[in-house]
């Protein structure tokens, strides 16, 4: 299919380099919301097909409530160095536990991972992944929208995220 609308939305996603809300795309390109939505669906499908045949290193995917062009997981390692990213492994572990148990108190997390939780919460907060609220003598921890976007979750529904994390873990074992 050679829909110029698909190309236009592809251009928008490529140049933004971050997840975009549909509204942002509609504002930036001369297309109606309906056309943008259709183009996004077509793009995701096209990229998925070409990815399946290993004909592209990229994918168009949902990230939280937004849409993003990113490397397929299989190729993520080849891009990490050049895009200058890397959240340290120990933070990823703590973060995935918080995402699973959220909303969870800092005190409960301390029972799980020990005193280093204070440093981890501080760093994760600075990275924008955690919302930290006072909760009696301790703090209540929750993942932010940015967390869902950054890690490419296709939903912000906590139960669904829990299910997803559980499934991934079972695959890992």
């Amino acid at each position: 299919m050679t829909a110029p609308e698909e190309r236009i939305v592809e251009a928008a996603l490529f140049s933004a380099g971050r997840p975009l809300a549909i509204e942002e795309i509609v504002e930036a390109v001369p297309l109606t919301r309906r056309k943008v939505e259709r183009a996004l669906a077509a793009l995701m499908e096209d990229y998925a097909q070409r990815g399946g045949a290993d004909q592209t290193a990229m994918e168009v995917a949902r990230a939280g409530d937004k849409y993003v062009m990113q490397l397929r997981s299989a190729y993520a390692d080849y891009g990490k160095k050049l895009s200058g990213m890397e959240v340290p492994l120990h933070l990823l572990k703590t973060l995935s536990l918080i995402a699973y148990y959220q909303p969870v108190t800092q005190a409960d997390m301390k029972d799980m991972v020990g005193g280093k939780i204070y440093d981890h919460v501080k760093e994760l907060g600075e990275l924008g992944f955690l919302r930290v609220r006072d909760h009696g003598r301790t703090k209540m921890l929750e993942a932010t929208t940015y967390f869902y976007e950054y890690f490419g979750f296709d939903t912000t529904d906590r139960d669904k995220i829990k299910e997803y994390l559980k499934k991934r873990i079972k695959g890992q074992r």
């Binding site: 490397l71 973060l95 536990l97 148990y101 029972d111 991972v113």
Partner: protein
């Protein structure tokens, strides 16, 4: 007898598999030329064992050097005689085994240091609930089930049109700056002229003195009768009020007049000439 001695200085004596191995080693050692120098059966057994270690047929840690020392001393005490050359060789071999043991230990320790230390200690009991326990443990032991997504980091190229727009903008900026500079110059000129005028206003000083003389003259004509302040100001405009008031304050300080007010703060202010007061 040889088997017993060897078993004594070897650890893991109960290990069946090991015992089988040891039997094999002993047979091998019997054929080895290195043990031939020891005439004594006991010495030969020990030498054979040590030799197996040095040929890497036996783990150095399988040798119990403490047990060996005890056995060897016991034998010397029992026989009373000692073949110093053989004893010397056996002690040298024992030392080599000790060296191997310590090298082995260092390697193991170094390997342990290099291995990443576990980040989490123990999983608390309250997380034993099945799914949650499984999740927590797997994350901690095997790694997170989430991964960073790699997105494009780039900024886009700048176009020629943008270069031209920038040129236009910077020219506007420069024009604005020139205008501001011209305005600043004009303002400076204006301020300079104003300053000059202000210098010309020295006449004002003389006005004040003249005003004081006039106010005093008016009051003198009243022969000590008090009058309200307003009556001294013929026009009642702000500037005149200020002039009259400051003249009066000056005269009051000189004790030439008296100033008072009935009903503070809104009452009428009265003035009278002190010289006709009789005080």
């Amino acid at each position: 007898m040889k088997q017993d001695i060897i078993n004594h200085i070897l650890m893991h004596r109960d290990d069946v598999v090991k015992r089988e191995h040891i039997q094999k080693y002993i047979e091998m050692a019997d054929g080895s030329s290195a043990t031939l120098y020891a005439r004594d059966m006991f010495d030969r057994a020990i030498a054979a064992t040590f030799e197996l270690v040095m040929d890497e047929q036996l783990d150095p840690w399988d040798i119990d050097l403490v047990s060996f020392s005890r056995q060897y001393l016991k034998k010397i005490r029992q026989t009373g005689a000692i073949d110093l050359i053989t004893a010397g060789r056996i002690v040298l071999m024992a030392w080599k085994v000790l060296r191997l043991q310590s090298d082995h230990m260092v390697t193991v320790l170094e390997r342990k240091e290099q291995e990443p230390q576990p980040l989490w200690d123990e999983i608390p009991d309250w997380y034993m609930e099945d799914d949650e326990y499984l999740f927590t443990r797997t994350v901690i032991e095997q790694g997170p089930p989430i991964e960073e997504k790699v997105r494009r980091q780039g900024e886009r190229k700048v176009t020629l049109v943008e270069l031209i727009n920038a040129f236009e903008e910077v020219r506007d900026d420069l024009e604005q700056r020139e205008k501001r500079q011209r305005r600043r110059t004009r303002e400076q000129e204006r301020l300079a002229a104003q300053a000059e005028r202000d210098v010309g206003d020295n006449a004002h000083q003389e006005d004040v003195e003249e005003e004081i003389r006039q106010v005093l003259a008016k009051l003198s004509k009243l022969n000590g009768r008090a009058i309200p302040l307003q009556e001294l100001c013929s026009q009642r405009d702000r500037q005149e009020m200020v002039m009259v008031l400051s003249s009066l304050l000056f005269l009051a300080r000189e004790h030439k007049i008296v100033l008072w007010q009935e009903n503070f703060p809104y009452g009428t202010i009265y003035v009278k000439n002190r010289h006709h007061d009789g005080t």
